[in-house]
Symmetry: C2
Subunit: 555 residues, 2 copies
C-alpha cells in the first residue's frame, strides 16, 4: 500500500482572480483527510454569464468526498473568499473556521440559509492553533485591504505549509494587524515546506504603498472642497472608510454612510472590536438638513455597480440627497478590469451634473491591498520556503510568479484549478487532474456553467427568438395556418412586409408541400420548419434567429 | 425674416467616443445649406447592444433635410469617422469628399453596397479648397495615428471655422504629414471664429510622444527575441505597422502580415502613395517554411476581437502557424476601455502556451494618436480662435476641455449630440435641440436603439424565455393540456420535478378555473397565463422569465 501524502488542489482562484477555493489533504492516496481554504464567489457579466447571480467554484469533487472534509477555513471576509459559504454549506456539511470579524460576516451569510451561528467556529490568531484531522492550523495575521486577513500556518506530518491568503506588506495598515516580519520569520525558522502565495500584483514592479499614505491627500482634498463631498471605496476596506470619514470629520463635515454593504462592514468592525473609533455618522434623513458644504457621503459602488449608491446618486436623487454643480466625487479605489464601462458611465453622469470627479490618477487617493513584485520577493526571503506555489491569479500571474520564484533559485510550480499537486517529496509533482469548473447561482438554483442554459440565453441575445406553432389534426394534416411570434427581432425586413407574415407564408407553403413522412415525424417536421424560418430571416433581415417549434397534435 | 446664421450640430461623437458625425450649416434659420463632417460607427457590446453588428449615428434629421446637404466630408479613415459611409449613402444622397487614402477606404465601403467610385471625390490638401454650397472647405494636413488625417478649414460668410478632426502634434509621424505649426498659424492669422477640436486626451497631463519614439524600443525587443515574434497593433496605424516591420527586417526576420484589415490598409497606403517603402512581406504559406527565429508576424486584433488574428493565434493554429513556448507577443497598442476582458483573455491563453507577452506598460512600445492636454493648449495658442467647441469625447472630456478653454480666457461651449449651436454672433448660443441617438445595423436591417428590440434580447438573456401554447376549441374550451417550452432556464427547480411539468400543471389548473370571461378574451387569457408562469418560476427557480403565450383558437 502506498505511503501517506500531502496534497494541494485548487478548485477556484488558480487561473482566474475570484472564487477562491483551495484544498489540502493528508493521508493515503484517495483517502486523504481534507481541509478547504476559502469558499469564494466571482461575479457574472453579460458577456459570459448573463442573468446569473453569482459564480461559485464547481465543488463536485468535494461533495463526492464530503466525508473526508474536516474543516472549511476562511482567511478573510472578501466576497471572493467567503461569498460562497452560505450557498455550499449544506452540500459540504463541514464546520467553518475563521477569526472574529470574518466569522461575523460568514455567520450573516449562513443565516440567509437559516443556518445557525454555531456552524462557524471563531478562532484566535497564532500562536493559537486548531487541530483539524491530521492538520494543525493557525491563523497568522497579515495586512490586507480588510481587517483580520490571515495567512495560515498548516502543520502536517509532511511538514509546514504557509498559505498566505490575500496580503500586502503594510507596517501601518491603520485598521487590523500590520505586517510583522519578525513574526513571519519566527514561524518560518524551522523550515517551510511550501509557501502558497497570492499572485495578484506580480506585474507591479514597485514596492506597494501603505494604507497610511492615503490620508494626507484625502484630508487635503476634502478640506479644500467647496461643496458636498462624496467618496466611494470598497465597502470592506474598513481602514479606508475610516480614513475618509476622519478626513470629513477634520474638515467639520457630518459623515453619512450610504449603501447596505458599507454599513454592514462598519457594524461588523465595531461588533468585533477591530474598529475602536469611528467618527459619528448621521442618517441620510438627517443629512438632508445639513448644509452641503458641511456634509460628506461615503458610499458603495466604486466599481460602477448599477444598483449601488454611487450609480444611484449619479442618476439622480438617492435617499433624498441630490448632487449639484460644484460638488466633489472621489473614487478612492481602482477600477477592476471589466468594470471600466460602468465606472465611466457614472463619471459621465456626474459630469453632466457639473460634479467634479477625482480619482487615483490625480493623486494618492488609493493603494492596492496586494503585495507587489518586490514585496513578493521580500516575503520569500523571510519565509525561505522549499517550494513556492503561486495562487490567486490568472494564468499570466501564476506563470510570472513561478518564473520569479525560479529566478530566486526556488522550486516554483504552476498549478491551475483542478491540478492536484503532491507536495510530499523533495520536488512537487502533479498527482492527478480533477474535473472542475464553475457553478452558477441562477435565481435560487445552482446550474453548471457548461450545461447549455446560459449558452441558450446568449444565443437568444445575439440572434433573437422566433416561435412557431403548428397544429395538426387527427389525420396529421395541418389545422389552420402556422403561427409565428418574434422576440428580439425587427418587425419588418427587406420586403417591407411584416416579418411574421413573410415567415408564416413560407411556413404555410412548406406545410402544403410536406408529405406524410414529414408530417407524421415530429423531429423531421420541426427541423423543416426551423430551416424555413432561418432561411427566410436570413433573406429578410440578414440574421439567423433561434427558433422554437411547437407542434400540437390533436389526438 | 431673420438673418442668415452659421450653425454647428453634432449628431455623433459629442458625448461619446465613437460614431463621429458633425453638421455645419449656413443660411436662413431652417433653410441652412448643410455639410456633414464624418460618418462613423461605434462598436456594439453584450451589455448594451447584444447581436448588433454596428452602431451608427441616428441621422433622421439629416434624412429629413437631405435636399439641403451639399457634401459629406471625411477627415480620415478610422472606422469611427468613415465606417458608416456605405450604410448611409443612399439615405443622404450626397457626394463624399476626402483625400486620396481616405477616399480609397471610403470607396471600398461604398462598393459593398454596389455604389460606384465616382460617389467619392478625391481632394487635394490645403491650399486647395472646394466650394460646397456656401462653404469653402480645405483639407489641412495634421498628424494622427493614420495617414492623411486632416483638419478642415471651413470658410463661411460668418467667418472661418477650423475643425481639427482627430489629431496629435507630432513633428515626426514617420508616415503622413507632420504637425506644421507655421502652416496652422498662417491659416489662422486672419482670425478664426471657432475651433472645433478633438478632446479624447484632455485628461492626459503630459505632452504627447511622437510616433518616432516607438522605433528604438521595438527594434531592441525584436532583435533580442529568441524565437518567433508576433506584434499586434491597430491595422490602420500604417506608421506603426511600418515601424514594426522595419524592426523585424533589421533583425533579419521575414515579415508576414496577418488579418484582412491590416493587409487592406497597407495596400491602400501603397496604392495611394502615402507609403513609399515597406519591407518585403511573405505569405502565411511561405512563413510556415521559415525557421521561427527568423520570422515576425504583424497581426490584427490588438483589442482582443475574437475573430481577429491575435485571438485565433492565442487559441491555436492560424493559417498553419502555431505559437510555441519562448515566442514573444508584443501589444504595440493600448487597450480601449471596455476591451480589457478580451485582451486579458488572449494574454492568458498566450501564457498557457508559454509565450512571453510584452505590452506598453513594459516599455515605449506605443504612443497615442491624440493630442494631450498641453498639446491642446498649444493648438489653441497657435490658432487663437474666438470660440472653442470641444468635440470627440465623452461628456467628461468635453466638460474638462471647455473648462480648460475658459481657463485660457476663451469662450468655450459644451455641445453634446443633438445640441445645435449658433456660431454667428460674438457669443455662441444654443439654437435648438434636435432629436438624435443611435441606430443599430442588425444583420442587414437598421433598427432604432430605443425601439425595444434589443431590450427584448437583453431581457431574454437575463431572465430566460418560457413559451406557452394553449389551444381552444370552437366553444372557447381548452383542447388538451397547455404546453410549455423553456429556453435559457434550468430544467429542474426546487421541487425536483421537471420545470415544464410544474408549469403545465399550474397552467392547467388555471385554465380549469378560468371562466368564459377569461377564455374568450385573448389579452386577459394571455395575462393570466403569463402571471401563472412567472409566479411558478419564481417559486421553483427564483427567477421571473420572459413569457410568450400563443393562444390558438380553432375557428
Amino acid at each position: 500500500m502506498s505511503a501517506e501524502r500531502l496534497i494541494y488542489l485548487p478548485l477556484g482562484g488558480a487561473g482566474e482572480i475570484g472564487m477562491n477555493c483551495y484544498v489540502y489533504g493528508y493521508g493515503k492516496p484517495g483517502k486523504e483527510r481534507l481541509i478547504v481554504v476559502d469558499m469564494g464567489v466571482a461575479f457574472p457579466d453579460m458577456d459570459g454569464s448573463p442573468g446569473v447571480d453569482l459564480i461559485l467554484p464547481d465543488i463536485s469533487w468535494l461533495i463526492e468526498n464530503r466525508n473526508r472534509i474536516d474543516a472549511v477555513i476562511v482567511t478573510h471576509a472578501h466576497e471572493d473568499h467567503v461569498g460562497a459559504v452560505g450557498h455550499t454549506f449544506e452540500q459540504l456539511g463541514a464546520r467553518i473556521y475563521a477569526r472574529p470579524f470574518t466569522a461575523n460576516i460568514a455567520r450573516h451569510k449562513l443565516a440567509e440559509y437559516g443556518i445557525g451561528p454555531d456552524s462557524v467556529k471563531t478562532c484566535s490568531p497564532w500562536p493559537a492553533t486548531t487541530q483539524m484531522g491530521p492538520f494543525s492550523v493557525g491563523f497568522l495575521p497579515i495586512s490586507h485591504s480588510i481587517p483580520e486577513s490571515s495567512g495560515l500556518v498548516i502543520d502536517t506530518p509532511a511538514g509546514r505549509v504557509i498559505h498566505t491568503g490575500d496580503f500586502k506588506l503594510d507596517e501601518t495598515p491603520l485598521v487590523g494587524e500590520p505586517w510583522d516580519p519578525a513574526l513571519w520569520a519566527e514561524v518560518s525558522k524551522q523550515g517551510v515546506k511550501a509557501l502558497v502565495v497570492d499572485s495578484t500584483n506580480v506585474f507591479s514592479r514597485h514596492a506597494g504603498r501603505s494604507e497610511a499614505t492615503v490620508g494626507p491627500a484625502v484630508t487635503e482634498l476634502v478640506a479644500d472642497a467647496p461643496n458636498m463631498v462624496v467618496a466611494t471605496t470598497f465597502a470592506s476596506n474598513v481602514a479606508r472608510v475610516k480614513t475618509l470619514a476622519e478626513a470629513g470629520d477634520r474638515a467639520g463635515r457630518s459623515i453619512c454612510l450610504m449603501g447596505r454593504a458599507m454599513r454592514r462592514m462598519i457594524e461588523a468592525s465595531i461588533e468585533t472590536g477591530v474598529l475602536d473609533s469611528f467618527p459619528k455618522v448621521v442618517s441620510s434623513e438627517d443629512a438632508q438638513g445639513i448644509p452641503r458644504e458641511n456634509l460628506m457621503l461615503i458610499v458603495t459602488g466604486s466599481q460602477g455597480e448599477r444598483r449601488a449608491a454611487s450609480a444611484q446618486l449619479a442618476r439622480g436623487k438617492f435617499h433624498g440627497i441630490e448632487l449639484k454643480e460644484g460638488d466633489t466625487f472621489l473614487f478612492s479605489s481602482k477600477t477592476i478590469p471589466g468594470n471600466e464601462k460602468g465606472v465611466i458611465r457614472i463619471i459621465n453622469q456626474l459630469s453632466e451634473q457639473g460634479v467634479d470627479v477625482v480619482d487615483d490618477s490625480m493623486g494618492d487617493y488609493h493603494v492596492s491591498g496586494h503585495a507587489n513584485r518586490p514585496d513578493l520577493e521580500t516575503l520569500q526571503d523571510v519565509v525561505d520556503p522549499q517550494i513556492v506555489v503561486p495562487m490567486h491569479g490568472e494564468h499570466r500571474h501564476l506563470r510570472e510568479h513561478t518564473k520569479l520564484s525560479q529566478a530566486k533559485g526556488r522550486q516554483g510550480i504552476l498549478s491551475v484549478n483542478g491540478m492536484m499537486i503532491d507536495l510530499t517529496g523533495n520536488e512537487p509533482k502533479v498527482a492527478e487532474y480533477i474535473e472542475t469548473g464553475r457553478t452558477y447561482l441562477d435565481g435560487s438554483v445552482q446550474i453548471g456553467a457548461l450545461d447549455g442554459i446560459v449558452r441558450d440565453r446568449i444565443r437568444m441575445a445575439l440572434n433573437g427568438h422566433v416561435l412557431v406553432t403548428v397544429i395538426l389534426d387527427e389525420d396529421d394534416d395541418p389545422l389552420g395556418e402556422p403561427w409565428c411570434e418574434i422576440k428580439g427581432l425587427t418587425e419588418t425586413g427587406k420586403s417591407n412586409a411584416p416579418l411574421v407574415d413573410v415567415l408564416e407564408e413560407d411556413l404555410a407553403q412548406f406545410l402544403g408541400r410536406a408529405g406524410a413522412k414529414t408530417l407524421t415525424d415530429d423531429d423531421k417536421l420541426e427541423d423543416g420548419l426551423r430551416r424555413i424560418v432561418r432561411q427566410a430571416c436570413l433573406n429578410e433581415i440578414g440574421k439567423k434567429p433561434e427558433v422554437t417549434v411547437v407542434v400540437s397534435r390533436l389526438a
